[in-house]
Amino acid sequence: MQNLGINVLFKGSNMLRIAEGLFVTAKIAFISIAIGSLLGIVLGVIWTCKSKWIRLLCRIYLEAFRIIPILVWLFIFYFGITAELDIHLSGEITSVIVFTLWGIAEMGDIVRGALESLPKHQIESGKALGFNMRRLYLYILIPQAIRRMLPGVINLATRMVKTTSLVILIGVTDVIKVGQQIVELSRLEVPTASFWVYGFIFLLYFIICYPLSLLSKRLENKWIG
């Protein structure tokens, strides 16, 4: 019987290894998204303050992550900073740090935009009811901003999931790296292996990202509809 390419996926412990790789990808992405979102809200609130200098500082932070490729940031942390400070960071930890910093920057900008888009009257009527700034943000501004920023946040989250594929370049064995190894091992035996393995990984990314899109659509309908 001819060796079907799809069997590569189920040969030996291949499926388990792909699952392990997927877990690494998902772990880096979701830890970064979670911490990035929370601290990003804090950054966004700070960003709306009146001080010109603080706003400039936030801007520079964001632009640093927008202008410099994430790959370069990974290299800076993995090779540069570790050598400079004479410490050792694993590839995974480095990835989480870089992706979190990126997430905070982008999330901060999304939160700032959402907060600034709220009508000024919301702040004044809150103040007129005796709210201090902390309560104003907590009960009135942030809950409204979250509804407005949802599309941007989901977009950011899917971008972060996809960009984790860069971590193989600092030696992290994520789902793509595992795929690469399997393809290389079985290429002679099964010439179509790369189609099946990468095709399957394509499907896995879709399975992670698509529910996020669905969730955002559902929440939008619920809140805005």
């Binding site: 004044e124 009811l129 005796g130 409204q144």
Partner: protein, 249 residues
């Protein structure tokens, strides 16, 4: 038929306010006693709204003094969160919080700022809603309400903080004409119950009906303070006569 007491709640002395060097309020003196209803009239841009915003600390004043119960509101250590619980304000825009239901809008301040007991607050909110005829809308969201309904809720929301003075900043100015009445009725009801109020409005017949005292402002200072009947039949200031003529059609 003056129904105010002699207890002075608010005292404005020589108030001065400017925006970027342009004076908006100048040499402004006004005393408001407990139970008094003061209606502030004047052409657009004369500083009426700014006056209310200064009283509520939404604008910083540049000179003079505002005293609430003999406590100066220009000191650096004024606790505005505390003061604003005593001086409620309703704005022109229907600025309910869109992510909360009517009842949540009303009870948020009493529960989170004043930390009052939930069942007591709910009870008061329902009594107030009943009074403005909107008890059946307590679980609606603001987007499901008409402008007049939203504005009545905004008034209830301010009232539920148990303020001593209420400031109304052109609250009917952006309402459809047929909804103006329902909001004015609520305000008139409040006046009859003895609420101290400062009202900025362009509704002349309402002003005449509700006011104990008309304050006519032009170019940031007071041109005339008089009894409503005197003001509307026999205005003393020339500028006030011109202003009233605009409303004759």
């Amino acid at each position: 038929m003056y129904k105010g007491s002699y207890e002075v709640l608010l005292e404005i002395n020589d108030l001065y306010k400017e925006y970027d060097g342009v004076p908006v309020l100048n040499n402004f003196n006004l005393t408001v006693k407990k139970g008094e209803v003061v209606v502030v009239l004047g052409p657009s841009g004369c500083g009426k709204s700014t006056l209310l915003r200064c009283i509520n600390g939404l604008e910083k004043i540049k000179g003079g003094d505002i005293k609430y119960r003999n406590k100066s509101l220009i000191d650096k250590d004024v606790n505005w969160q505390e003061i604003r619980q005593h001086i409620g304000m309703v704005f022109q825009s229907y600025d309910l919080f869109p992510h909360m239901t009517v009842i949540e809008n009303i009870t948020l301040g009493p529960l989170k700022v004043q930390k009052r007991n939930k069942s007591e607050v709910m009870e008061q909110a329902k009594i107030l809603l009943e009074r403005v005829g909107l008890l059946d809308r307590q679980n609606s969201y603001p987007r499901q309400l008409s402008g007049g309904q939203k504005q009545r809720i905004a008034i209830v929301r301010a009232l539920c903080m148990n303020p001593e003075i209420m400031l109304f900043d052109e609250v009917t100015a952006s309402l459809d004409p047929e909804m103006v009445r329902e909001v004015l009725d609520v305000m008139l009801g409040l006046a009859n119950q003895g609420m101290t109020m400062i009202i900025v409005t362009h509704e002349m017949s309402f002003a005449r009906a509700v006011a104990d005292k008309i304050v006519f402002v032009d170019n940031g200072s007071i041109c005339e303070i008089s009894d409503p009947d005197d003001f509307f039949t026999n205005p003393k200031a020339e500028r006030a006569q011109q202003f009233l003529n605009i409303f004759q059609y």
